[in-house]
């Protein structure tokens, strides 16, 4: 013990980024998918609950994506992610009040979100990035601050934005698919694909990965590490804005709109593995479906237990796979 104190040995962790996919996990997921398809064919209510679960899960997934992105970039959990997403949704709302069309507001908001996220990283996170606890506390402070500012500017009453995908509903047999839910799913999957392309095929993505993995070495080869971190946060804020805008049609605009979603998004992100965007999406979708089916078929699982069940699932998965379904085992060297 004294030796450790004197020499201050620290553990180094090696991290890998890229396929944490293991065969058992994939098999398990395929089996689950087959179960869902079969169940849907047998029972219309099962099918409808699954579809509804996927729609819910897409919302969790979209916010989980931004959590994962921040974690990948800076190894930090951003408690203010939900509030930042909420604030950017209010930006979009304000733009529509100024007579911009929904989609014009949407894309302009994404731009504003990027700047917002980058500024937060530079101004608030960078000064204390060596201390995990300090960063966490700052994100907590940001949570409260943003909540207060938004309530001050726009008020706490329910507000409504135009529906992004319209209100049509498609029917396949007795199962209804709403255009909004399909749109949300599509947007979420598109986001993952774009992220994947960014990280795998572009120089910027490579630089960002390098900056996250081995900041010292990356700096040596000319990567502007600080700039990469800021960009990471900016992108995460963009994903958060998307999440907020996709969530708005379901819970409408109020300062607390993302708070419950954030909780489920945490569960989804950790479930999938905090460093895996694909994991976040699959984790979110799986969580949504699971909660709906459990609620439908298990009597004891009444609505009060929805949140605890989500976390119980998470904890069970973590006990078996401590880094999530697609996470990588971290090797700790002394």
């Amino acid at each position: 013990m004294e030796i450790a104190r004197r020499i201050r040995i620290r553990e180094r962790r090696t991290r890998n980024i890229g396929g944490g996919v293991s065969v058992p996990v994939v098999l398990f997921l395929v089996a689950a998918a087959i179960f869902l398809v079969v169940g849907s064919l047998v029972s219309p209510i099962f099918a409808q609950q699954t579809v509804a679960g996927l729609a819910q899960g897409a919302i969790f997934a979209s916010l989980a994506l931004s959590l994962v992105l921040i974690y990948r970039a800076t190894e930090v959990i951003n408690f203010a992610q939900g509030e930042m997403a909420m604030a950017t949704t209010y930006f979009a709302y304000q733009l529509t009040l100024w007579h911009l069309s929904y989609w014009a507001a949407f894309f302009l908001t994404l731009l504003m979100a990027f700047v917002f996220g980058a500024v937060v990283q530079v101004a608030l996170i960078r000064p204390v990035q060596h201390s995990v606890i300090a960063v966490v506390i700052i994100t907590v402070g940001l949570f409260v601050l943003i909540d207060g500012l938004v309530t001050w500017k726009w008020g706490a009453d329910l507000k409504f934005m135009p529906a992004p995908f319209g209100n049509q509903v498609y029917h396949v047999g007795s199962v209804a698919f709403s255009r909004q839910d399909l749109g949300t799913l599509l947007v979420t999957i598109l986001s993952v694909l774009l992220l994947w392309v960014l990280f795998k095929f572009t120089k910027l993505g490579l630089a960002m990965r390098a900056a996250a993995l081995r900041p010292a070495s990356a700096a040596l080869v000319g990567v502007r590490v600080n700039r990469m971190l800021a960009i990471g946060w900016g992108l995460a804020a963009v994903l958060g804005a998307v999440a907020g805008l996709m969530t708005e049609p379901t819970v409408f605009l109020q300062p607390t709109m993302m708070q419950a979603v954030l909780l489920y998004a945490f569960a989804a992100a950790v479930l999938g593995g905090l460093e895996s965007p694909a994991g976040a999406v699959i984790g979110g979708l799986a969580l949504g479906v699971f909660l709906n089916l459990i609620g439908q078929y298990v009597g004891f699982a009444t609505s009060e237990l929805r949140l605890p069940i989500a976390f119980a699932v998470l904890l069970v998965v973590l006990l078996v796979k401590p880094h999530g379904l697609f996470g990588r085992k971290q090797v700790r060297r002394v």
Binding site: D147, L263, F311
Partner: protein, 319 residues
């Protein structure tokens, strides 16, 4: 006796004197506020033992407060137990829960542990809703008798004093060294013969027990009324803020951290600028961010830096 120990004892005696004399100066309402400081002092002390001394991050101490608080409410409501007796009961029950949580927590570390404890903070209040017949549900559960401001003040500060002593004794001995070694390097600690599971779980238990007592007093300060909304996520986050402002890994900043989170909401509610409702949140958020930017190692860190200024003799050693 070492110089540091003398200074410590003097500071403690002065503080004790202030605490004893204060009620004669304060009216009931402010006694309530002072009691609130004591309550958060106990909770932050507990959290510090876990996060500051063994390095296990917990964002779930609100859950342990809830357990202690509901213990008091339930025992008093159904069995008319003397309020004072419910405190050691809450201590023991919360300790038990802490150990139960600590065992699976051995598998997690870092951010995963933080999220697991966060899950706890979110889930525990939901159980009060699920078992609403027994635990009162959304209508809460009321103790049989309610304490006066003075009772609350005296009992809270007595508990704070006693538990501070307990913490100090635990942390300066072998257990404390074991805790600190775990924080510095688990592998090295294990290699040096520290049985990790026992000490890590013990830390969880002690930490939870402190939070449990704080929770009991918290419910008593809320007129003996326990209800799920009192133990929301934000309570756990507040405790973490308090611990960070206090400065992790040291007992001396805990009072400052406790004063910070106990009184800041009241102070920021009076901010004239933005209007009372929103001023509170905005000011709280700004100050938390500001304090962290300026003092990332908290008040204890500030003390440490002051002590290591040239001209001030320091003795290298343990806190």
């Amino acid at each position: 006796m070492s110089r540091r120990l003398i200074v410590a004892i003097v500071v403690l005696l002065v503080a004790a004197a202030v605490v004893v004399l204060l009620p004669f100066q304060l009216d009931g309402y402010h006694e309530g506020l002072a009691a609130k400081v004591a309550i958060f002092f106990i909770a932050v002390l507990g959290l510090n033992i876990l996060t500051g001394y063994t390095g296990q991050i917990s964002i779930g101490h609100g859950a342990f407060m809830a357990i202690g608080g509901y213990t008091t409410a339930v025992m008093s409501h159904y069995h008319h137990t003397n309020l004072l007796l419910t405190l050691p009961l809450a201590f023991v029950i919360a300790f038990g829960f802490g150990v139960i949580v600590g065992i699976p927590a051995l598998r997690f570390s870092g951010v995963y542990l933080a999220l697991a404890t966060f899950a706890l903070a979110v889930s525990v209040p939901q159980f009060a809703l699920k078992f609403s017949k027994f635990l009162g549900g959304s209508n809460g559960i009321q103790t049989f008798t309610t304490p006066t401001h003075l009772w609350l003040y005296v009992v809270s500060w007595s508990c704070a004093g006693i538990l501070f002593l307990v913490a100090w004794l635990v942390l300066r001995g072998r257990t404390g060294r074991a805790f600190r070694s775990i924080r510095d390097s688990e592998i090295a600690a294990a290699a040096s013969g520290v049985t990790l599971p026992i000490y890590k779980t013990l830390a969880f238990g002690i930490s939870a027990a402190f939070a449990g007592v704080a929770g009991s007093l918290f419910v008593l300060a809320t007129n003996g009324f326990a209800q799920p909304n009192e133990f929301g996520v934000f309570l756990s986050l507040e405790l973490l803020v308090g611990a960070a402002v206090a400065g992790l890994g040291s007992l001396w900043g805990v009072l400052i951290g406790a004063i910070f989170i106990a009184l800041l909401p009241t102070v920021s509610a009076d901010v004239p600028l933005i209007g009372s409702a929103h001023g509170q949140d905005v000011v709280f958020g700004l100050i938390v961010i500001g304090v962290m930017l300026v003092l990332p190692t908290g008040f204890a860190g500030l003390l440490h830096r002051l002590r290591s200024l040239p001209g001030i003799r320091t003795a290298e050693g343990e806190d």
